[in-house]
């Protein structure tokens, strides 16, 4: 396919939603199915213009349930596929996120978080969907969720989300927020040759030998696609390695569900990314993610200026939860501060991992995220 007009290498000025859309194209995404919703709409708008230039498909579906279903269908033909939404649409997608987990369908779901519950605050930021990202669909499963803190990361982590999704055959969630989505910042586009792109493993056996859900050592099965002559079946029912329904067999159910969880948990160290800022000698560590981490960084710097040994652990990966990193800082630090734009979600994971040291929670709802001063005040109280 011709006419590719990739963004020139170098610095650009763009919004987070546009950076996400460009990141998808750079990652090789060639199918977008979505439904308009604030504050994610600009991702769809931008891709409706850009996808055809790459021979890719843009379609506005009739709702978010259809959007995620179409994304799964496209992924099973071999295309990298994505949808983008916000809280209400994310809720509608949950059942088919479970189908993607069960059928091990690589796909990326962008959730630009706004204030909830229900219709909530369409134009304001939130971090209220973090637990939903892990637990939103029924049943037990592992999933990957990433949290961008900048427009640059909306670009970078969209690519990373596709790479992880293709590697582990799991839906991967990019959990942005209204500010990183609508904010305009500098984005540096690297040369295509320096961008790491991962594609799903293909089977190297004949169709008669192919079992679509037979895992390899990394617990991930190679994936054939529709139209390649493998004649395979996939179902949301509990299935054996051939993909055949085995709904009455407790052994098959145990083996399948444990693997769906363990292919993420046992690869967690390879998946998880965090950013350490001034942690070596830190007495007080702020654990933050998304746009809130920007204010937290500022607060930590101000604390250092005031002579307080503060540090920041920025969570880039939210799920699987970076508990080893929290446990690591908890060995040295005297207190942890967790600011979040919700009533307390990640803080519970931090408390679980930190075990003995005190964890101060700073909740913010309904407007702008925490100011650096608000976080600094809590840091000072912890010393």
């Amino acid at each position: 396919m011709t006419g590719k007009r990739t963004l020139p290498t170098g610095a650009h000025f763009m919004s987070g939603d546009i950076a996400c859309a460009e990141g998808a194209i750079a990652a090789g995404c060639r199918f977008f199915g979505g439904y308009p919703i604030t504050p994610a709409t600009e991702i769809a708008e931008h891709l409706s213009e850009r996808m055809p230039e790459f021979g890719g498909i843009y379609i506005q579906m009739e709702d978010e349930i259809a959007s995620i279903a179409a994304v799964l269908g496209a992924s099973y033909t071999g295309l990298k596929a994505m949808t983008a939404t916000s809280g209400p649409g994310f809720s509608l997608m949950q059942e088919n996120i479970g189908l993607a987990v069960m059928t091990e369908t690589p796909c990326v779901i962008v959730d630009i978080m706004r204030g909830g519950p229900s219709t909530g605050q369409p134009t304001l930021p939130g971090q209220q969907d973090v637990m939903q990202a892990k637990w939103g669909s029924h049943g037990d499963y592992g999933i990957i969720a990433l949290s961008p803190s900048s427009v640059q990361e909306m670009f970078n982590l969209t690519i990373e989300a596709f790479n992880l999704s293709e590697t582990y055959r799991v839906p991967t969630l990019l959990m942005g927020d209204e500010i990183v989505a609508h904010m305009w910042e500098k984005v540096v586009i690297p040369p295509a040759s320096e961008t790491r792109i991962v594609n799903r493993k293909k089977p190297n056996v004949s169709p008669s030998e192919y079992a679509p859900f037979m895992p390899e050592d990394d617990l991930v099965p190679p994936m054939a696609c529709f139209g390649e002559g493998y004649h395979f079946h996939a179902t949301g029912l509990t299935h054996d390695e051939r993909g055949y329904p085995r709904t009455q067999d407790s052994e098959v159910q145990t083996r399948l569900v444990r693997r769906l969880c363990e292919k993420i948990s046992k690869n967690a160290d390879k998946i998880i990314k965090v950013e350490d800022v001034m942690l070596k000698d830190a007495d007080v560590v702020v654990v933050a993610y998304g746009i809130v981490a920007r204010a937290a960084l500022s607060a930590v710097r101000k604390a250092r200026e005031a002579g307080i040994k503060a540090g920041l652990l920025r969570l880039i990966t939210l799920w699987p939860f970076p508990e080893r990193h929290v446990a690591r800082i908890a060995k040295k630090a005297k207190a942890i501060v967790v600011p979040e734009m919700n009533c307390g979600q990640v803080v519970h994971e931090v408390e679980r991992a930190a075990k003995k040291i005190p964890v101060a929670f700073l909740s913010k709802l309904g407007e702008d995220p925490h100011t650096p001063q608000e976080i600094l005040d809590v840091i000072e109280r912890c010393v």
């Binding site: 396919m1 230039e53 379609i59 279903a69 496209a74 596929a81 189908l99 179902t235 329904p245």
Partner: protein, 279 residues
């Protein structure tokens, strides 16, 4: 010496998944049989066939067909298939599902896929109730019939599926009963040779779950109803084709030419890139 012979249609079936789950007297086997006959008569390339189903008894058809197949969540077969067809228009994407799956929980996807004219071939086995869950009322349950959730008789008006499909923009709309196997097979063949969104309703017996509550205890009783009530009226007004105990209008209702969504889409992509894509 007796030689074991392979069934002539064995290559179309995933025999390792047999026996099937369907009850004696069920029409689903007839639907699958006619589908396979149509594939065979057209010598369809099974490598390019994708069968998608939703939830319900007929939803197991995808698994029984020896092609690439996908068994979606309840109601989402058409939405999933839309992604398949647009991502790879060379694939023949057929949806075989039930009346509850396609027209209750999945109704929105049906009307929009028909409106867009996505080149999907939808076969609906209409058995008038939710068979798999034990016989509850659904969107096609006839007035006054008894189901496990309408013990005093159904007061909801059923959908007239062929009217709905025609009004939503389908390029091909037909209805047959499982009694009309030759014409049913012929209709599937026509669908498989057309470009846009095609819909076939197969009125199908469910004696074990629906029939026995409505004075049709066996498959034969239900087929007898189809024989008695069926009237072939090709290209009649689908708005006048409601199914009643006295009258089941069958035939082809719509067969028009309209450029499919995916053809328009790929033409547009080619124009944007100023070069033909040649699929």
């Amino acid at each position: 010496m007796v030689q074991e012979m392979a069934h002539p249609f064995e290559k179309y079936l995933r025999s390792a998944m047999m026996p099937h789950i369907w009850c004696p007297g069920c029409g689903n086997g007839i639907v699958l049989n006619c589908f396979i006959h149509a594939l065979d008569e057209l010598q369809k390339d099974l490598d390019k066939l994708v069968v998608v189903s939703g939830i319900g008894c007929i939803g197991r058809t995808a698994g029984y067909t020896n092609a690439d197949s996908f068994h979606t969540t309840h109601g989402r077969a058409i939405a999933f298939a839309t992604g398949v067809k647009l991502a790879n228009p060379e694939l023949e994407v057929t949806i075989i599902s039930g009346d509850g799956d396609l027209f209750a929980i999945g109704g929105n996807h049906f009307i929009h896929a028909a409106r867009r004219n996505i080149g999907l071939k939808v076969i609906c086995a209409n058995n008038f109730n939710y068979g798999m869950t034990g016989g509850q009322q659904g969107p096609t349950t006839p007035l006054e019939t008894s189901t496990t959730t309408t013990p005093y008789g159904n007061i909801e008006h059923p959908f007239n599926l062929v009217h709905l499909a025609a009004a939503s923009g389908a390029t091909y709309v037909a209805r047959w009963t499982t009694l009309h196997v030759r014409r049913l097979t012929q209709s599937i063949k026509r669908m498989l040779q057309k470009d846009g969104f095609c819909f076939l309703e197969v009125v199908s017996p469910c004696p074990e779950i629906f029939g026995r509550r409505n004075k049709m205890r066996t498959g034969l009783d239900m087929m007898e109803w189809f024989r008695r009530a069926s009237v072939v009226e090709n290209f009649s007004d689908p708005s006048r084709a409601e199914i009643t105990p006295e009258r089941i209008v069958v035939g082809e209702f719509v067969n028009i030419e309209k450029t499919s969504y995916e053809r328009l889409l790929y033409e547009k992509i080619a124009q944007i890139n100023e070069k033909a894509m040649g699929w």
